[in-house]
Assembly symmetry: C2
Homo-oligomer: 408 residues x 2
Amino acid sequence: MKKIDNGGITSPKGFKAAGVAAGLKRSGKKDIAVIYTESPANFAGAFTSNKLCASSIDYCRRVVERSDTIHAIAINSGNANACTGDQGVADTELMASELAKHLNIKNDQVMISSTGVIGVPLPIDKITHGLKQAVDKLSFAGGEDAAQAIMTTDTIHKAIAVSIDVDGYPVTIGGIAKGAGMIAPKMKMPQPHATMLAYITTDAAIEPDCLRHCLVNSLHGSFNRITVDGDTSTNDTVITMANGAAGNPIIKTGAAEAELFSEAFSYVAMNLAKKIVLDGEGATKFVNVTVKNAKSESQARQCAFAIANSLLCKTAWFGADPNWGRILDVIGYSEIDIDSGNISVFYDDLVIVEKSQGTSTPVSDQIAVLKQKEFNVTVDVGVGNSEFSVWTCDLSYDYIKINAEYHT
Amino acid sequence: MKKIDNGGITSPKGFKAAGVAAGLKRSGKKDIAVIYTESPANFAGAFTSNKLCASSIDYCRRVVERSDTIHAIAINSGNANACTGDQGVADTELMASELAKHLNIKNDQVMISSTGVIGVPLPIDKITHGLKQAVDKLSFAGGEDAAQAIMTTDTIHKAIAVSIDVDGYPVTIGGIAKGAGMIAPKMKMPQPHATMLAYITTDAAIEPDCLRHCLVNSLHGSFNRITVDGDTSTNDTVITMANGAAGNPIIKTGAAEAELFSEAFSYVAMNLAKKIVLDGEGATKFVNVTVKNAKSESQARQCAFAIANSLLCKTAWFGADPNWGRILDVIGYSEIDIDSGNISVFYDDLVIVEKSQGTSTPVSDQIAVLKQKEFNVTVDVGVGNSEFSVWTCDLSYDYIKINAEYHT
């Protein structure tokens, strides 16, 4: 697997993209993105489990049900078009039909996403005008513009591409994502679901079922293991498109190539998920929370998310305060099975807690770990052999600032 | 029911208390409290459901099991004596035996509580010295000193007393509480549990079962409906003592007097619980979140707590941002049954959302509600007739400051 410098969704063959400023954002920044594949693509999608999801989510779910291939995705930022009633539904459909018209494709070959403030009707005239502009600007070099156009409170755009060799054919997988706040997977499995916006393109020739399988497989270890603030959005979406332009023999479920492709696909998803947490609202630190030796993976997951979402843990990390008592407190109330006299906690490789009590590890060494931009908190609950890792960030003054002082 | 000016735990007859500074707090403030009843008291206790509870919790549970009456409670602040292993257990027992010795009562007539930093061994010499001092200072006017001595990050001490007439006898109920952070009930019922430290004294003559019933009844509408930060402590405790000094005919379960007493008891518990939220770490606002017309009370409760603990809602309240989309987002992911097209939201009496869409209520009116020190957020989910209210506070810069810059 080879990483492509400055890669993104237009790195795979046959994909064009564009991002334009249509006036949805008061900042005047880009706010409409279009992703287009020259030949129709197999596709798969995963969506939020939030019951009050946006109309674009309902729309996309219908496309998934009735279409075999898609041709384009339009995304607007600055407005989530959620809780906007019948008008919201009509606006989503108008976005789809306008895009289809400009691209001369069918309505049900178009997917739509929206992100931004909830409960405000879309400024639909600006959007239809912007869609036309974006279609006019579509190019094989437009990936970065699209990555920028989907940003909301993100401080940097998020993109990656990798290539692998499939039977002698170079196959490329590219992705973009956005998300900084209202980031938290729903913890219920096995329903796949996503937690932000991410689009993964590939020129691989791959069976639809195999592609869907790759997406589902990737979620568990990527978008479904991250949390910034514990709030699951109404609009979370991951969509992947495979247009076959690489010309490789079709990748089929069960074949060795499927595994190779799935690994690369998961790598792209993980990379994007990690970028979201690194850019979490107000985040100054990336924290990998692992719970191991739990009774089951779901228990490990439940406890790891409880730690990752604890305000007391997140603020301690922000302050580089090695106060492990807060971690033990969370373990105690996380409602998983534990050996209460036999808990261990590690900051990176340092043993901080052993047999549920503090060790003699010098506090200065502990602080040194917590002052890093990235570190690991590992908890051993001593009752089984399952583990799960969650990626999160600290909670800083800037999180409060972003969410109390701006209407987001 | 009559409220007693400056009332507290020494308002009921026969109760003495004291608070002294034993050097556990770096600030030099009071950190050891003793509550004493001249005649042995019927009692009841409710404790944290945290699996990594402090040794004092285990100790108190044993007293509850084996003792019919108690005589005294000692509480230290500045150190939770949690996750301190065998030494912690021995220290709790030493606290109990020292107190019993000084008061000339039996070890198992003593309850012990600790609150403060987790994982640091108790400075036991300071504590035993402080206990002696406190016993020497015990007085019928010592309630306020005791209320101050149990404070940690609290900015004000919390106390109340009320009196009622039982068969012509004045009966008094008094209480103190502490708690500002690491405040959150466990949401699982029906196991009663507490979420901070609270002590409720009464001179009522009341059957032990009836007293226990009053405590259990009160939790649901008081300590178990509050959350500051969603973190459930290792040391949460509510203990009540009834010494019979009022001389009233014994209050028995099922009698009219039992109901009267229970109401007054619940009022004291609710008042203390509300004081905890009002003094929540960094809190600038008290928010009463009600979910109504839910399928069941437990669903209403689950949704109300999800809103009350949402960082996005809490920061919006801090900023007086009427962004109701964040509330609908939480309703959507709270995993309760809802009528997704028929959600209403009210800020005090203003209708903000109707049929899951924004109303024309002027934004300036909405902001005016959210700028108050106290307001109500009411959600109607339109599928049943059950409701539940949760008391919470906003999330401010000062919460981050208190928990990132100090080792608490």
